[in-house]
Subunit: 174 residues, 2 copies
């Protein structure tokens, strides 16, 4: 936060007053300056907005951590669907284990699954393989970017439209 | 899940028995067949693993929804850091509102913020702008992909190494 305090461009205030068009905060410092830079050089080389509170990590690292757990969840679903058809016993074992352990922390889940029994260890190793393959081959990263972009545009439009409809309705009732 | 039941390739069983090398499930059907395809044509054109349970949506859409809320969270932090330096009053108002409302659902948070007061509406519009700009310009998508890939490889190695260390230690104690 102290970095944000060093630069106070006037256009922040303008963008606050006229928020229909965002004025980019060119003066905001980088998250990771490659060397101790003066305020002037930061101003020259970094075009990104300052994101506080991530310390040594980055928003990308935090998002990757979340996706990591998501991929484990997907891998468990893939393996379960495959087992269901040809190995009902293993499927039942996996489901029973799922009922007892949370999938919120994917790595912890896999570590516990490995230590349950030798059969569970086989399942855990397979889940590890599937999540790697899914992350590296199957997951559509371009699609994720496209969908996120679309979602943010549509959500903003919806929020503003709903607000305008609501307020104009309220005013017309007066 | 019914789609998984239609194909039972032998290599699933092989990959279960020898899970050190994943055998790709070429026979698994696509998530979104562009037309009602026969089992044969699906087998020909889709190389991806079948992911059950996402219905009309996709894992990418679910991940995008999560990222959407994450971007709102980031935008709130960015705006708060900017306000803190030049507009302490607005900063206090935003912080006070944050204390009363959850940021888990970003859109709901913005909708509530818009309806709080006209000053809060200005803040909300600014948050909407910042999250769009962050998503489309600042967020490093390539970095996310790289970090996720690295994370899944490292986590798998760590899980297997920890397991081997633990079991070999236990055996050497006998």
């Amino acid at each position: 936060m102290e970095s944000a305090a060093t630069v106070q461009p006037l256009n922040h205030q303008l963008s606050f007053l006229f928020p229909t068009k965002l004025i980019r905060t060119k003066a905001s410092p980088c998250r990771w300056p490659s060397k101790p830079a003066t305020s002037h050089s930061t101003r020259l080389y970094c075009q990104k907005m300052y994101v506080p509170g991530f310390g040594e990590a980055s928003p990308e690292a935090k998002a990757a951590k979340n996706l990591h757990n998501f991929f484990t969840y997907i891998a468990v679903r893939i393996v379960a669907a495959q087992l269901q058809s040809y190995n009902p016993e293993a499927y039942e074992e996996l489901m029973e284990f799922l009922g007892r352990h949370s999938l919120n922390d994917g790595d912890k889940f896999c570590a516990n699954l490995m230590r349950e029994s030798s059969r569970h260890k086989g399942l855990a190793l397979r889940i590890l393989e599937v999540r790697t393959a899914y992350c590296k081959n199957d997951f559509e990263w371009d699609n994720l970017k496209r969908l996120s972009s679309k979602m943010v545009t549509e959500a903003n439009t919806k929020l503003m439209r709903d607000y305008v409809l609501e307020t104009s309705h309220a005013e017309s009732e007066k």
